[in-house]
Amino acid sequence: MKVRWVLFVSALLLAGCEKEGQNQAVVCSSQPTSAQANLSSMKSFTYASEPGVQGLETSKTSLFNLLDTSLWPARWNCGIWTPEHGWLYIGSDVAIWLAYFAIPFILGFFYFRQKNEIPFRVVFLLFIGFIITCGLTHLMDAVIFWWPAYKLSAAIRFGTALVSWAAVIGLVKVMPEALELKGIDYYQEKIDTKTLELRKANEELEARINSEIKLKDINTKLLNKISAQNEELKKKNKSLEQLHELFESVQSAAEIGVWEVNLNSNRVYWSDAVYKIHEVEKGTPITVEQGINFYHPDYRGKIEKAIKSAINTGNGWDLNLQLITATGSVLWTKVIGLPVVENGKTVSLRGLFQDITDKVNREKRKESIKRSLEQKVVQRTIELESINKELNAFAYSVSHDLRSPLRSINGFSQALKEDYFEVLDETGKNYLQRISNAAIRMGKLIDELLDLSRLSRKDIQIEKVDLTALCQQIINETSPDPKYEFNIKKNLYLTGDLKLVKIMMENLIGNAIKYSSKIANPRIEIGKQKKNNKQLFFIRDNGAGFDQDYAGKLFGAFQRLHSAEEFEGTGIGLATVKRIINKHGGVIFSDSKVNEGATFYFNLIN
């Protein structure tokens, strides 16, 4: 606003000054008669007048030969100029010119800087032109002192006149409008209100910016969250893709196909595997009827029933059906169907399809093998049962028929000894005694053999057995010589058939007693210890022991490592123990040296 006023006022001032300048120009004389004329000016005048003699007329009359100076002397030579007067004149003119040129430069500078803000731009430009041209006239006035280019001066003045008038006209035109322009106070007020408004707007803006920052913050957070979720989704997507790939590879590997029937459009979709199983070229359009007709006639009813049921009840199916492929091969297929229900209505059926011919054949083979095996088992069982019966019959007859003659042998040799006491000499009596003893021993052997065979036939009943108490009981029942020292560890428990465990321990304890009977301080120890990484029970004596090299014979029936004269026995005891251990699934082994006692390690359930 201020700029506008400055320009306007300065323009008016200039307009005033110009009038003065023009007056001065008019004052300028055209007489080249100054006595104090500058020599150079004189010369130039003289020089100029010489060629002018020939073309004087044309030069004089021409308005356009602007640089023609032939008709006038330099101003120094026109009239009488005191140097003070002349230089004042020239100095002032140059000063005015400089000032007049400075003003439009400043104005022009503003003009170009604030082009859009300047009102009445044309008038402004006209003023600039006007001031410049005025300046030029003053410059010319000064120059004319030496160079009398009055024609050029006239042209410049003419231009100045034109521009001045254009400015006047422009001024007249814009004046009413210019007068409308409000004063500084008005604008100040306006500026103040606007400033206030602006401040308010600014505050609002700030508030808005603040909320925007907040929003941005939230936005950033949201974006972060979204990107995090995106990442997660991407990951999930990737795993889904992997799953899908896996599913597809599983499909192709397992030859599992996927199918779907849209019940509205009756369109059938088959996956590649389904086509492959049907031996139909991939992508061949298939109708529902065609699909069903691939099944063996015996199975069509089944699949039709399943489809109907799925549509009506929403229940799926899982059927093994025989299929006849496009090339006539007969296959077994597994068909799984699931209805897709929307708004309570079955809209489509989809499911899996698999060639299970190999599996069915395998199963059939398995079944037939199983049947034949079962048959064999039944046959073998029958055979075994009959063998068992025979064995039982044999055992029965052994106990009956083999014992009877023994009784006769024993009984009659006894009778002979008694009734013919006098007739027989000592040798005869001794022989008879040997006969009856042998019969008794054989009776024992038969009994023990029978016991052994009975053991094998007996079913076992597993229970927790207090081994410590059982051993103590056996020792009490045996009532051995007081010289024996027994050391039975407390709290020994094992699981097994009580009756059999008792028979086993009777044999083991009996052996320990028997084979340590010949030493002075027999000691028998029963306990439990770790041996070969297993917790095993043991029974140890310090008796005769045996050569470990023959330990393998120890557990066979009728196998003996000592003679009957040395230690009596039938060789059945350890065989019985071994049978009992075997029946429970346990182990038994010995550790012994001749004359250093023997240890038997055992457990019942290995």
Binding site: Y396, S399, H400, D401, R403, S404, P405, L406, R407, S408, N410, G411, F412, Q414, A415, S436, A439, I440, M442, G443, K444, D447, L450
Partner: protein
């Protein structure tokens, strides 16, 4: 000592001889009637057209018999009212648990396994005579 008869059902002659010898040595003087198989034993017990039923004080019954087995004889004896009261001692070579259990189930009063050793047999027979012929009180008198 009672004077009642003893019915010995035994097919093995040796055993019969040895049993009789054991009775004798144990001073059991009761009359011993021997049946060599199950049918003969039942004939004696129930009698037939020509003979009256035998009413022994004790029956010594072997299980393994020709024709009718000892177990069958035992069943018949227990079924019959006349013979039910007669003590039956199973005297056999078998020590099969099955035989022992069945014998008692079918009403045997005692089960004795004949030992190989005659000395032991003598002891058993002595105790048997003492119990069944002396101490035991039958439901009705078999004295004749």
């Amino acid at each position: 000592m009672r004077t009642g008869k003893i019915l010995l059902v035994e097919d093995n002659e040796d055993d019969v001889l040895l049993t009789l010898r054991a009775f004798k040595q144990n001073k059991i003087a009761n009359e011993v009637i021997v049946a060599n198989d199950g049918v003969e034993a039942l004939d004696l017990l129930f009698g037939n057209n020509s003979t009256k039923p035998l009413k022994p004080s004790v029956i010594l019954l072997d299980l393994k018999l020709p024709k009718l087995s000892g177990m069958e004889v035992l069943k018949r004896i227990q079924k019959n009212k006349i013979t039910r009261g007669i003590p039956v001692v199973i005297l056999t070579t078998s020590n099969e648990e099955d035989d022992v259990v069945k014998s008692y189930d079918f009403g045997a009063n005692s089960y004795i396994r004949k030992p190989v050793d005659f000395e032991s047999f003598l002891e058993v027979v002595g105790q048997l005579g003492l119990y069944w012929l002396v101490l035991n009180q039958p439901p009705h008198s078999t004295n004749e």
